[in-house]
């Protein structure tokens, strides 16, 4: 490995490669993005057709369905649905990334992984708690918007420690979240684009760029 004759090109290449490998989590697999997107699609279908009765569930400002029923059942099932989507997506992310790490002979659980997770979790957990507060305060209108914006912020924050696609996925989610706040009746649609379609698109791009 010792170079007596100076080879600046190779030297710079080594430097760049080691800087990237030591500061970025490169085990993140595009497949976990695709899997998360599919989970979100399934979750959205369940929410629309089974929980919201194809959009036929209407309620007034006090979250009462005409006839005076409360919407607590709907809110509970929406929360359950979203948690299941999150759970499966996280399991998928762990599974596919561990597989990628094993294949390329890299360690999965390093200081870098921890740093990435901490940076991801701070905005994500805050957003999750805030989402639950909105849910229990009967404020369903801005739910999609809040979820997308906080998720986008988490990705932008964690993007420093992994592939740059994550940074751009984060920005996309923030924009979608803002749009979901403007076009308030299309929350579920924007949610499905953000968590379903965009995960699949970015996951596919990452897979072809870094795993082929």
């Amino acid at each position: 490995m010792k170079t007596n004759s100076i080879n600046p090109k190779e030297d710079l290449q080594t430097i760049r490669e080691i800087m990237e490998r030591s500061s970025k989590f490169l085990s993140l697999s595009g497949l976990s993005g695709i899997f998360a997107g599919v989970c979100a699609f399934i979750g959205a279908v369940i929410a629309w057709f089974f929980i919201l009765d194809s959009g036929n569930v209407q309620y007034d400002d006090y979250m009462r369905i005409p006839g005076g029923w409360s919407t607590s059942g709907i809110r509970f099932y929406l929360a359950l649905d979203a948690m299941l989507v999150l759970g499966f997506a996280v399991l998928g992310a762990i599974y596919f990334s561990q597989r990628k790490a094993r294949k390329s002979g890299q360690q999965f659980w390093t200081k870098l992984t921890q740093r990435l997770l901490i940076n991801l979790m701070i905005p994500l957990v805050s957003g999750g708690i805030f989402t639950l507060i909105l849910l229990f305060r009967n404020n369903l209108e801005l739910l999609s918007s809040v979820m997308l914006i906080f998720y986008g912020l988490s990705l932008v924050n964690a993007g420093k420690f992994t592939f740059s696609e994550i940074h751009y996925l984060g920005l996309t989610e923030i924009v979608l979240g803002i749009l979901a706040g403007v076009f308030i009746n299309y929350g579920l649609l924007f949610w499905t684009i953000g968590f379903g379609l965009m995960h699949i698109v970015y996951g596919t791009v990452m897979y072809y760029r870094h795993e082929r």
């Binding site: 010792k2 710079l12 760049r16 080691i18 800087m19 360690q107």
Partner: protein, 98 residues
Amino acid sequence: MKNPISNLQKVFESRIRLGIMSALMVNDSVDFNALKELLGLTDGNLASHLKALEQQEIILVSKQFIGRKPSTTYKATDRGRELFRKHLAALEKLINNQ
């Protein structure tokens, strides 16, 4: 014109030291085992290069205990960062002159 080679640092001629420094430039601190894995070196080989860098005050060594396990971490000094930057600039100049 000044010869760019005069800015190349003798201490970074070894690819291994270059590798160690690259990792320390983008991280606050890195421990021995992480460096070992990153560069794929044996304990002895890595230790001798670290010692050389330490003697030239390019890196700072600190030893502490995590629980009962001793852990040695390394940091780039300001002087080390400056020298590395000079070395990088010289390498780039060499490429551009080719």
